[in-house]
Symmetry: C2
Subunit: 440 residues, 2 copies
């Protein structure tokens, strides 16, 4: 094991939730960064400081559709006594122009177009007659339909100060400014900024690839017929959805029967596309718990960084858990119990933080809060086990849903929170303030 956390030597040691989590997070390392196209990097963590290479905007440009003028030419202009200027042509955004604005002249200019030499301000088209000689206008006719709009005379009805309606070069960001710091999570506004300063690719930690497989000879895929003693595989679907929700690219392998050799070869096959592997079932004390049986033999046994350890946790649900690394790349593997609620709670507590650690995020845990218990009777919890109960939370109150049985998946679909009952508490009266994990 390549774990940095000290391991209790006693194989019968009952691990606390914190000890197990600490072991997982001490072993899992953020993925190596790669250069990704901007939109492929959405939701990822930047690993480089980004500096502005070209000032934004890169040149003085007009913030309005209007006329580029010299300040002296429009001084004192009014609708009654307009300034009359000669229009020397159009300056459109992105079209090359060699126009200059001399005394008594104006250039018709579009939003975003570069200011022509000689001009000191822009007057919006609504402050002019638009060249029509008939009072104020509300806009310009399309150049493609009325090309002569770029010629003749224009009457300007208001004065303009120097710099009016001009976006100055570097007014948004200057060359050399820090645009984004390493560690920033790239959402839409950060992607906007990176594109705006010309960055088409960035170095980020990629989304981890998570392979999810459930084990159990009793498992049948949904939409298939159930024979006696069979149930539907739900864990592989649930945890694949959970892994995506946590930010991963998840691959659902589905159910593997309780045969150690089949499981071992399936895991070895899947390793090539896994940054993290999650199994469910087969981790307890039964005679057919093949995950436990198979996983001590996966990968290079002589390699010190390889091996999966099975342990008991002081929690309910989720007592039996396996964790370690397998294969030549020491890929982390979490072996969760098979009960649907146990595997779901285990995912939230241990796998989600592992995925978010692989992504390089600072914030790896679900948020927690405190809320007042609303229930018909006291909650009971086994001594020495930390209990996680499905619940709904709103307005500072939390209500348990469904029973404590770990097979009650129906109630899980109603829950948006988990009530945490500490190890040393065996009973919680209604009205007590309790700790709550918010499931997003």
């Amino acid at each position: 094991m390549s774990s940095a956390a000290p391991r209790p030597a006693d194989p019968d040691h009952l691990w606390s939730v914190e000890e197990h989590l600490e072991d997982v997070l001490a072993t899992v390392r953020p993925l190596e960064p790669i250069e990704l196209n901007l939109l492929d990097a959405q939701g990822c963590v930047l690993v480089e400081d980004i500096t502005v290479a070209v000032s934004l905007p890169p040149f003085d440009n007009s913030s309005m559709d209007g006329y580029a003028v010299r300040v002296a030419d429009v001084a004192g202009a009014s609708e009654e006594f307009p300034a009359v200027l000669e229009v020397v042509g159009d300056i459109a955004a992105g079209l090359a122009s060699s126009l200059r604005v001399g005394p008594g002249q104006a250039a018709r200019i579009m939003t975003g177009a570069p200011m022509p030499p000689g001009a000191e301000a822009v007057v919006p088209v609504e402050w002019t007659d638009g060249g029509l000689g008939e009072g104020p206008v509300t806009g310009m006719p399309a150049h493609s339909l009325v090309p002569e709009g770029a010629q003749g005379q224009v009457q300007v009805h208001r004065a303009a100060e120097a710099g009016a309606h001009i976006r100055a070069r570097g007014g948004d960001a200057r060359s050399g400014d820090r645009a984004l710091d390493a560690g920033t999570v790239l959402g839409p506004p950060q992607i906007a900024l990176l594109a705006a300063i010309g960055r088409g690719t960035v170095k980020v930690r990629p989304r981890p690839r998570v392979v999810v497989l459930s084990t159990g000879s009793e498992l049948v895929q949904p939409d298939e017929a159930l024979a006696d003693g069979q149930i539907y595989d739900s864990n592989s679907f649930a945890l694949t959805a959970c892994a995506r929700d946590a930010g991963a690219i998840a691959y659902r392998v589905g159910a593997v029967p309780d045969d150690a050799e089949t499981l071992r070869s399936t895991i070895e096959d899947q390793l090539v596309r896994a940054d993290l592997m999650v199994t469910t079932g087969g981790v307890s004390v039964g005679a057919y718990d093949v995950v436990k049986e198979a996983l001590s033999h996966v990968g290079d046994e002589d390699e010190p960084g390889s091996g999966v350890e099975f342990r008991k946790l002081a929690m309910q649900p989720g007592k039996p858990q396996g964790f370690g690394t397998i294969g030549p790349d020491h890929t982390p593997l979490l072996a969760l119990p098979g009960n649907p609620v146990s595997s779901y709670v285990s995912f939230e507590l241990f796998v989600r933080p592992a995925i978010r650690t692989l992504m390089g995020l600072d914030d790896v845990h679900r948020p927690r809060t405190r809320a007042r218990l609303v229930a018909d009777k006291a909650l009971t919890s086994p001594a020495g086990r930390r209990q996680f109960l499905r619940a709904t939370v709103s307005d500072g109150s939390v209500r348990p849903v469904g029973g404590a049985g770990s097979h009650l998946v129906a109630a899980l679909a109603q829950a948006d929170a988990l009530i945490v009952v500490p190890e040393d508490v065996e009973s919680v009266e209604p009205g007590t303030e309790v700790e709550v994990v918010l499931l997003g």
Copy 2:
């Protein structure tokens, strides 16, 4: 236009934010539902009530690894005076078994395996000698390694009540129970439940396909060299990321030059993959605003449901906006202004709700809150315009970031909220409570 909202007749009418939003949401309809595989339906809205077809669990089964016994045979058993039973064999989950448990007999049984006829309770393996005759054990040896574990005698150290450690058929959900209601958003727990009850596909509203294109002859793709008068295209990246963030499948077309014919043919080409189309730029009063010029000619002009209307909104940024439907399927199109901050704010206020309406979600808007303004000086806002200012919010306080200029994309990357300054307010003093849009 297929809008249900009454339209102001005056073409110079200044639209309020509410009028424009109401027009958009009255026109956009939820997409037709389709049957999707469970994991493809993640995040989508269910349109059918789901009933449990087969009880969950479908049969009485063991909740522990242990021994299935008759209650009378273990009555009064203790470690000192164990009950000694004949082991008739193993019952593993998912493996067919014809075992019966008669008087004086026990079957070794695994978690999830069906209860054999004759047995009334399960005693966990930790309450037995595991068949080894050497006191309590902590688990079973793997069957593949020690097949004789399923034979011989077992000593049971504790009594068990009828039904102990048995999960009763239907204990989680009964055939005919309502599992999920139409309108439920499918997250991981709902997917878990659907799989558990055997549903491999469900009828949901699909994610909308959103085509994003920016317009402007001045736009260059990131990583390309900038010539004079050119800037980088950031809107197509930003809004594609925003659309995904809202739940859509987004296609970035990139920048189209300011030529009406090119724009028209690009939009007509893209229509086939669009449930919603978003353009940026070219909607104002300039002579080269080709979106405005082109869009009255897209699609069938004789079709009453087609047409895009351009209007002025009483807001800042985001005054010029276009909205309508185009093409044979009356595909909604929102034409946003071209300034990066204007287009981003317009997306949040109008496009995001449209996408979420297409998805059939109830909750289409960003959440809002109230917070106390923290600033060095009063905020100023133009009379008659609703202003949206980028800001950061925490602990009930909100601080503006960057200036009011709509080109200040750098500040946008720091913001997590928008301050809303109403139309009739021209100045907001520090310490005033203001309305805030939370950007997630």
